[in-house]
Symmetry: C2
Subunit: 332 residues, 2 copies
């Protein structure tokens, strides 16, 4: 049995999803030879620490009742520096302006020779090259499948399974909220505003939906794909961005009558990164409905390979974190 000691930095929806998945999958992980010991859980107010392993069920219960896991006044950076562990699971909120605490957490993790698995897009959108260099210099593993498309695998699919296949472009629907809104607008012949309100009530859209509906979230994911798969050194400013706020039910209906749907499509290649509403034929593999995400990878030898999956959700995103963890430490 190999013991992997890890910290969970950030205990919002995704961090809690990771804790739940680690509890659910304890037996399974042991069956493949891994004991995952969480030595610290950190949220914005403080931390729960135990070098022998914290009680994750208790952390989840306290977060839900008291609103925090804080017992000790420690930050992520302090945990990384003071507690022995191998893996930092970085699930603090995405901040694409400054990188947020995630950026410092990741640099500190590499500085102290730790591996990082993350769902946090901010640092990767701002400082991809610097982070990769720091990881490489430290000999650390750095994996981030969860940053793009939730449970839908695309980074590891492109870089590992399709290794040897030169890729020409990736295009797809990388934001479930926008896809939900456009799907519902067409099906209900309802206005953007009405469906946005519905999405907020259902918890599909955030209270401030700007990040999703203006295409910013899709743009960040494209930056990560550009860097991780196409070897670019892109940041957010390299993306041409148009969101979905100007789309009318009339436009959707007119497109539909001509055999098309309007989707917010992100596309990345060696030459260009852009996101905009585009017409997609109704029976095209990209025309997925509801909150689904989809990515179509255009390869030189194998044509288009398309993958579809749930793009969001704490458990779905946590499953991508778990896959990355197993990829690093599992005996394969």
């Amino acid at each position: 049995m190999k013991t992997v000691r890890c910290s969970i930095l950030g205990f919002g929806a995704i961090g809690q999803g990771v804790a739940e998945v680690l509890l659910m999958k304890k037996e399974y992980l042991e069956s493949i030879g891994l004991e995952v010991l969480v030595v610290a859980v950190v949220d914005s107010k403080g931390a729960t620490v135990n070098p022998e392993g914290v009680d994750l069920a208790d952390c989840l219960a306290r977060k839900r009742t008291v609103g925090t896991v804080a017992i000790e006044k420690l930050t992520g950076v302090e945990i990384i520096r003071s507690i022995a562990h191998e893996l930092v699971i970085e699930t603090t909120p995405t901040n694409i302006v400054t990188g947020g605490v995630g950026l410092q957490n990741m640099f500190t993790a590499f500085e102290t020779g730790k591996d990082v698995v993350t769902s946090n897009k901010g640092p990767l959108t701002l400082k991809y090259r610097e982070l990769m260099e720091a990881a490489k210099a430290a000999g650390s593993n750095f994996r981030f499948e969860a940053t793009v498309g939730g449970s839908m695998p695309v980074i590891n699919l492109a870089n590992e399974v399709l290794a040897g296949n030169q890729l020409k472009s990736i295009k797809g629907i990388l934001n479930g909220t926008c896809n939900y809104i456009l799907t519902r607008m067409l099906e209900e012949r309802a206005s953007y505003k009405d469906i946005l309100t519905e999405s907020m009530e259902l918890g599909i859209a955030e209270t401030d939906p700007t990040y999703d509906v203006e295409g910013i979230d899709t743009a960040c994911k494209l930056v990560i794909l550009a860097n991780a798969i196409f070897g670019r050194d892109a940041t957010y400013k390299d993306v041409e961005v148009t969101g979905i706020t100007k789309i009318t039910p009339e436009a959707l209906e007119m497109a539909y009558e001509r055999g098309h749907v309007i989707k917010l499509i992100g596309e990345v290649s060696r030459e260009r990164i852009h996101v905009a509403p585009r017409l997609v034929p109704i029976n095209h593999p990209l025309a997925v409905r509801g909150i689904l995400n989809v990515a179509s990878i255009d390869t030189e030898l194998a044509g288009e390979i398309t993958v579809t999956g749930k793009g969001a959700g704490p458990i779905e995103t946590a499953s991508a974190v778990l896959s990355d963890l197993v990829a690093i430490y599992g005996n394969r």
Copy 2:
């Protein structure tokens, strides 16, 4: 630069595709640190051998003009035993009754400590467990992404990218010929027989189409998925099989009017392996058209992940062989 010496055993459409892809990708492979040196090419009449590397372009030209690469009267097994190399690329034709020469080629490769990458379903359908044991005992790599779904990744996707995700079932369309026939029957309102004739003329169906249209090819692929992904010890006799020969254009049309298409769906789980025509809602991710293949992987944590790609074609299948080669020898 790492030199990988390999033999290509079987020089039909797939073997030739591998040779073409190795020629096309020489520079790319060198850019990732790999020199692939083919030391022998074998077809049913004999072999071309050169421990310094055979001329692949010349082999392709001779195969197309004279019909064979035979210069020396050597078999695959003799090549494996007598010529130093690390990797056997096994692309002889699938024979699900005896396993064909592929079975002996693979066992001999493992016996002599070589790695195997293959597109040949026969040996894996008949003797999966024995082959895995032989590979393990020899410390050999054994990869076979090309056996299922051509360029559509499913085995490596499930076992590597989705590692940590317990899988419940895989269902999909794994035979492009059947999917082409059913798609065309609906679109042209034509009989099974007429479209089968068209498919043969286009080279989409074989001269003897039994293997495809009776569901046998799909069943073999399901056996491989059952063994490789669900840890079973299944053979062809464990599959319940119904083909598409009884489907009428009237049935397709009636289903379509009710919002469904009829597809030949293979499904595998821990409990059951079966292939049969089934109704699929028109806008379901499994409802792909033409020669496309699709596999929907039902996961415990991440819901359904669906992958679509070209299921056949020499270059597409050879691209899966290349991915497996890079997975074994590439520095990642």
